[in-house]
């Protein structure tokens, strides 16, 4: 053991310099030089003011905006978290039922069978930036009546925002959609 202590200590110091020093600095250097926004995260700006991060969902509770998914941490991006409720938990199921009822009150024209499940279930991170195209469509009637816009106009806007990557589910970024909605 004694024989291996000195090389092991030296190895630890070298490891620190190599991983924490050189490896991180190289990646950070590349990020600073060429990555979007110097590696600080892509921000979304309105009139030169930062209103959010493209990747990080934010709270949209007002009826005039497209609402995102419910969040266990109210979209606090300094403390991410899911609900961690089990599928048979009676409290959890009560919460889902009341989310359905609330949605139907605010969206009286939507039939219950059209309400997509993600609008009443909480995401894993509590910061999900996206909803499915269906979940955006079911909110159009409400927003049209609050904002006095035509439904056709809003449908076109949602269609413009549907991202269908070559792999992975189609989704709509709620923040980008709402930024454009404000411009209508």
């Amino acid at each position: 053991m004694i024989k291996h202590i000195l090389p092991s200590i030296k190895l630890s110091i070298i490891s620190l310099l190599l991983f924490v020093g050189i490896y991180t600095l190289v990646v950070w250097g590349i990020a600073y030089a060429v990555a979007p926004n110097h590696g600080n995260g892509e921000v979304v700006q309105v009139n030169g003011k930062t209103v959010g991060y493209k990747l990080v969902g934010q709270s949209f509770t007002q009826p005039k905006y497209f609402n995102g998914r419910p969040s266990a941490v109210s979209y606090n991006a300094a403390g991410s978290g899911g609900s961690n409720k089990g599928p048979s938990n009676p409290d959890y199921l009560k919460g889902v039922q009341s989310a359905i009822d609330t949605f139907l009150v605010y969206n009286p024209t939507v039939k219950k069978a059209e309400l997509p499940v993600e609008l009443v279930t909480m995401s894993g991170s509590g910061l999900d930036p996206d909803i499915s195209p269906k979940a955006a469509m079911v909110q159009i009637a409400r927003i049209a009546s609050v904002r006095h816009l035509s439904e056709g106009q809003l449908t076109a806007l949602v269609n413009k925002h549907i991202e269908k990557p070559w792999f992975g589910p189609a989704h709509v970024n709620v923040l980008l959609l709402n930024v454009d909605l404000d411009k209508l």
């Binding site: 934010q58 709270s59 409720k85 048979s88 990557p165």
Partner: protein, 566 residues
Amino acid sequence: MILNTDILEIIAIFAVTVALAIPLGRYIAKVYHGERTILDPVFNPIEKTIYKLMGIDPAEEMNWKQHLVTLLTINVIWYPITMFILMNQNWLPLNPDKIPAMSPDLAFHSTCSFITNCFQQHYSGETGMSYFSQLVVMFSMFFLTPAITLAAMAVVFNALRERTAGKLGNFFNYYVKSITRILLPISLIAAIVFLFNGMPMTFHGTHTFTTLQGDTANVARGPLAAFESIKMLGLNGGGFFGVNSAHPFENPNFFTNMIENIFHILLPIATVFALGFYLNRKKLAWMIFAVMTIGFLLLLVPAVFYELKGNPAITHMGIDNSLGNLEGKEIRFGTAASAFWSITATSSMNGATNCMHDSFMPLSGGMQLLGIMVNSLYGGVGTGILGFFVIIILTVFIGSLMIGRTPQFLGKKLGMREIKIAVIITLLHPFLSLVGTALACSFPNLTNATLGNPAFHGFTEMIYEYTSASSADGSGFAGLGNNTPWWNISCGIVILFGRFLPIIGAVAIAGILGNKIYLGDSAGTLVTDSPTFGLMVFSMIFIIAALTFYPAMAIGPFAEYFSMPH
């Protein structure tokens, strides 16, 4: 519905992984064999400098006991360093968000969990760890712990060669090469890919601004691109943020999700093929890969099926449940890819999550649990193949006795000592998981209030916690409020035993075998690379897992399943 795009995505991820793992396995075998590779001109001078600074001779060979002493020495050095940093991060530099020091029991658990590659986390990264701790502790452990197990694996490979040898290479040499030639280059490439997919790489603290609807928002950031690549590649799995790879900064889109998911099982599969190339026994490698994959698929298919089907209790409420069980999942990954990830995470002992396991349907959560219970389907970096090696030894022993032959593996006779070690190692994991859970159930005043869900599901949370600790997986049913002295101390102890004893056992068996006379195979030897033997290994795994864990599965996931509407 059956073969929709969701399923095709999963098949694609798996196919790409295997396609990459085979050449990588060949490369890994070359690295530990000391054969020439095209990157020698780059790595040789770097390694020479490291050896010179360390003052060691990489050609000086060690026997298996010296290897184990070296392995433990490195861990002993890092233990107090890690513990000190975690308990003093409040005043140490690089703490823009004023994160407080960890309590002693939390620091104990975290240290046990980090130096063992388990990375079970009883804190949430945004609020529990400063940038200094993330950098010095996490980055170091992310490289160190997989390198240690890869080196241990190289020792075992070396011992199984067709010869009689007590000297099995140099531990430091294997260790350094694992980092310079395998972990570091691949991580660097992946980190750059991640950067261009929007992953932040910054040392600025939390950003506060006003949202579109007029609320104040705080967004935590960090040096994520460099962090994620090695977190996934080295099967470390400790999240920078509390929700791990479900966080949009840790996993921005489906493409990064694919890469991270490939990394889950890339090295475990590659090391299986590396064994085949190293010993020139490719059929043996394919047999192992086939057994692992069949077991993996048996977990995967039910998990994906029940997640896509969604929660029947919610279907009964009359809404559109066609996207499946989305509680705890992200829209950009979807239900199928999240379920796939969760099974790769629990069969590979990575433990990084992109969704909340606690909110899975009873049987799909049960499949995750079964993955960490079985603990040998793909398995961790190096430890996966080591664990499987121990099971093969047991199977050879039982199989040979069944047909009345001398137990012999790769030309070496198996003796009583090896079998004793193999039996102890195999029973250790069920013992730690089940005794831990039994103790937790016996002290309801300490554990009851920490459960995140009532009834059967609450029991599953407890058994999952200990099984995850013992198998070094590190994922969790996160509803469990596990930052209490009870959970911190008991899980910390389980982690230490669950990690080091199996490594010591596997290296010891291989070392003892290496010292024995090489006999070669004869017509009377049990063939160990045939489908028949594969079936026997599979039965062995099934019997051990089924007999030891079935009662626990019955009280947890199965009972919850039968108590729900269908």
